[in-house]
């Protein structure tokens, strides 16, 4: 390479790093640094006021051996994820299929079905939800037309989780929009060819639509799992913000928040955060590894997901 080429390259190197500078600063100060910090803190006792005191593995030992709230909140979060993720994706897929084939005013329907996803994360909607599923709320008034006397869904520890899950399923719009885009990519001649071969609608769905959609399903699944393990606002607002009634809204993130920011046990909260990271990492890895068996990348053109 000529010396001119070399200086051009080193100049490009410098320009590139200038463009990358904000991200690099952010990466070290907001991600890598704090990650190492939280790993260190997870081996200490630290209440913000006194210097961190080294405990070794004590936090972890206590979490796994003595902490019922840890198991409870982890279990609750798993329950939430296991129910809300598949339900939301199934709803999204059904509605996307219904909207897919040459329907008029698709734009309007797509918008209407998307609105809950748009608004659903706000405190306002969580409050509305709480009121709708309250003892004298709309949902029970609806049930009373059929002569059913419903309980207060938000006051009862056995039912409040299902209320929060409904809120999350109601927001299937974003997954639906992704499915709709995926369905558009399926070539129409595949359906025509299989129709000639005498395949029915059900068979077409399982043999053509589902396999061709699998990369999108995979993508939606990974993102939904990661997001559902971080659920906070609905539980906090629909419950009482402290995990009640009877710990039925004590999601993992809320437990972590309470430990860190109400009891100022920053070391313990950091240990909880690292356990959460490992759990999410393992689950994502499982989805990735099993994806070999159920995700099909057709002609290899669609590498997204």
């Amino acid at each position: 390479m000529s010396s001119l080429g070399k200086t051009a390259l080193s100049r490009q190197n410098r320009t590139a790093y200038l463009f990358l500078l904000p991200w690099l600063v952010g990466f070290f100060c907001l991600t890598l640094g704090p990650m190492l910090g939280s790993l260190y803190l997870s081996f200490t006792k630290f209440n913000l006021l006194n210097a961190p005191r080294w405990l070794g593995l004590d936090n972890y030992v206590q979490i796994f051996n003595e902490d019922d709230s840890f198991y409870h909140s982890m279990g609750l979060t798993f329950q939430y994820a296991l129910l809300s993720v598949p339900l939301r994706l199934i709803f999204a897929l059904i509605v996307a299929l219904a909207l897919n084939k040459g329907i008029r005013a698709l734009g309007v329907y797509r918008t209407v079905y998307y609105i809950p996803s748009l608004l659903g994360g706000s405190v306002a909607i969580a409050i509305v939800w709480r009121k709708i599923f309250d003892g004298d709320g709309l949902f029970n008034q609806f049930l009373s037309w059929f002569g059913i006397q419903g309980p207060s869904w938000v006051a009862h520890p056995d039912y409040i989780l299902s209320t929060i899950i409904t809120l999350s399923v109601w927001q299937f719009g974003s997954a639906m929009v992704i499915f709709l885009a995926g369905l558009k990519q399926v070539p129409a001649d595949l359906y025509e060819a299989s129709q000639v071969d005498g395949a029915g609608k059900v068979r077409q769905f399982f043999r053509i639509t589902l396999p061709l959609l699998s990369p999108v399903i995979f993508f939606n699944l990974v993102m939904s799992i990661i997001n559902s393990f971080q659920v906070f606002t609905p539980g906090y607002v629909i419950g009482d913000g402290r995990g009640g009634p009877l710990n039925s809204t004590l999601f993992y993130t809320l437990y972590l928040y309470l430990k860190g920011f109400s009891f100022f046990d920053m070391g313990y909260a950091s240990a909880l955060a690292w356990i959460m990271l490992v759990v999410i990492g393992v689950l994502t890895a499982i989805v990735f590894v099993t994806s070999k068996y159920w995700v099909f990348y057709g002609d290899g053109k669609d590498e997204r997901g």
């Binding site: 990650m35 996803s117 706000s122 972590l256 950091s270």
Partner: protein, 279 residues
């Protein structure tokens, strides 16, 4: 036969419309109830209020402890707008470097950037809080805004990298021949063509920041600094009696900016979700 398919079509449309209305019902209920007098909110179940009042809006606007919702709205707007600017500027810079420039350790940085997309916020939360506490940024907007100026929302970088890869490289090459440097190529060629991705980023950043509750709650305790979300949460008393009329009225207002932005930029928004899988 055609009559039959027409009927099926009609039935399908009716089903889709009915289901759509069911989906929108909670939002419509919120809107209509915010205009009902307090004592009618839960007894009058019809969507059309029997009696319309604006008292809820007047009462709610008064806010808390002498701080009005006007203040909360200005606070939220300030945080959201500064976050939007930060994200579109710094994320597009990083994206340009990753998509178009050659530099040392590019692959390493790029994979690290991808990994951070999946990283749960909670792993870095505690040390971040401790740092902000130490440098006395608690009860300021800096912990909410500065990360956006450091391209901390990596998925927007990824979104823009994908977008820039779709811009023909010939444009850069001819600009180089015309004597443009790397910086000029970004500002004169890439950025103008990147506008759709920048708009998508801006809309998502605005909505997420506006709706964010967790970090606002952690970093802001002073009522004068409260945002709309914190204001609404404070009006609401889960154990006792809330002024439901005021609460619902302010809830409606809190959704107005989001709805307005969504309805004006729908096309970018829904395409942005479809192509990148952003929430």
């Amino acid at each position: 036969m055609s009559l039959n398919t027409n009927y099926t079509k009609l039935l399908k449309h009716l089903l889709i419309i009915a289901f759509g209305l069911l989906m929108l019902y909670p939002v419509l209920w919120l809107l209509s109830s915010s205009f009902k007098p307090n004592q009618l909110i839960f007894s009058d179940t019809s969507l059309w209020p029997k009696k319309v009042t604006f008292d809820n809006y007047m009462n709610g606007w008064k806010g808390l402890q002498g701080t009005t919702f006007g203040r909360f709205f200005l606070n939220s707007a300030q945080i959201s707008v500064l976050s939007v600017l930060g994200n579109i500027i710094t994320c597009s810079f990083a994206a340009y470097a990753f998509a178009r420039l050659e530099f040392r350790f590019k692959k390493l940085w790029f994979s690290l950037m991808l990994v951070t997309i999946m990283l749960p916020y909670h792993v870095t939360l505690v040390p971040q809080y401790i740092i902000y506490n130490k440098i006395e940024w608690i009860n300021t907007y800096l912990p909410l805004i500065v990360p956006k100026w450091l391209a901390h929302d990596s998925f927007f970088i990824l979104l823009m990298v994908q977008f820039i890869r779709g811009i023909p490289k010939e444009l850069d090459e001819s600009a180089t021949i015309d004597g443009c440097g790397q910086g000029q190529i970004y500002f004169r060629i890439i950025m103008p063509l990147l506008v759709p991705a920048l708009i998508t980023t801006a809309i998502f950043t605005f909505i997420w920041t506006w709706d964010d509750f967790f970090s606002q709650m952690i970093y802001l305790n002073n009522i004068k600094l409260f945002t709309v979300q914190l204001g609404i949460r404070s009006l609401f008393d889960p154990s006792g009696e809330s002024d439901w009329g005021a609460l619902l009225a302010m809830s409606v207002l809190s959704l107005v900016p989001i709805m307005t932005i969504f309805l004006s930029f729908q096309k970018y928004f829904l395409e942005g979700i479809a192509t990148t899988g952003l929430k």
